[in-house]
Amino acid sequence: MTETDVLRGRRHAIYVLAAFCGVFFIGGIIMSYVVAAKYGYGTGFGDGRLAPVGTVKGQGFVGDSAILGGAFVLDVGILFAWYWLISRLEAPAEDDPLPTDDGADLSHDENWYFIQVPKLTRILVAIAVFCTAGVAILGASILPVVLLRYGW
């Protein structure tokens, strides 16, 4: 296979992978509504049913604080463990050296790409910015919305 074939092949695969994103989410959403209809539900608004809700029972302020503090410590521990492991297993070594400097001018963005897909990159960056904001804002809204709706 020539270098041109490799480049063309990878470019095609990149576009197929990007299209898969649309197919997966559009397909997933359609499937969700199909399954909803199969079980006798509608869009989800106004046709939901609630099962009995259990009572909330914490461990008191001190107990809850200790649990949350412990969870924080465990999270940091897990993160550190992964960092420790990957950074050592994947450290550059003689059997797997870093690439040599090719002297490219890295102030030009195109030199960062093996396959030039500027339009696709712009679209993906715009969606990524939108999604980052969505993830952060909607994630942060859960507790306030729950407190307003159901109380503490």
């Binding site: 989800g44 939901g48 609630l50 992964w82 690439p99 396959i115 990524a128 910015v129 952060a136």
Partner: protein, 228 residues
Amino acid sequence: MANQTPVQVNPAKHSMTTPQSDKADRWLLAGALCCGTIILGPLGLILIALGLVRLQRARRLGEWARPIAVTVFGMFALVDASINFVGWSLDIFAHNTHMLQTMSGGWGRMVDGGYYYRYNSTWLGGVSDRAEKSFAMFAVFMIFPARIVAAWAFIKLRRWGFRWMILTGWAYVFLWVGYLSNLLLNFPERFGNSLYGVTGWWIFDIFYMTPFLTLPWLYALNRRRWNR
């Protein structure tokens, strides 16, 4: 310990001092940490935006800096993975607290019945749906902590960061496929047991499409640039 050879770490011109970019990275990291707390997400976004502005300023001043797309995708992966990691880890480690039960109960009643129905009824506690709990374990102990460290290393142009962004990206795609299948298979207990069901869940969760967006773009990059 025989035959040890010095390893080439290629400092070359890419590791020249970049004080403005390093400062910008600190703003980005602070933003990601805030987003990771979940509740401080909007503040985190502001810090990330300030970091991006500082990074652009550094580029305009002629200081060497990576392309903005690298930072945007790295931060997207970092924020997404942090929220997933912290959210699910609270269900695993802190399901006995009043705050978690309130939050899970409310979230469950609104969009995913699995988060309130028979909550804390299994030996692991928290969400009672077996498959959901299995995904949570996979998420908290495997994929998301690995993705968090990979995303930061990717931003810092470490080679292993690039490799693990791809590896955890695929793992996240596999997670999405399994997770969605499980949700739909347990429709009556999950979507059906909530107020806003299907539509509510998709409005909240479609934003977590990180790997689907990132993977095609990662394969377009020249991996030689990740040479630290």
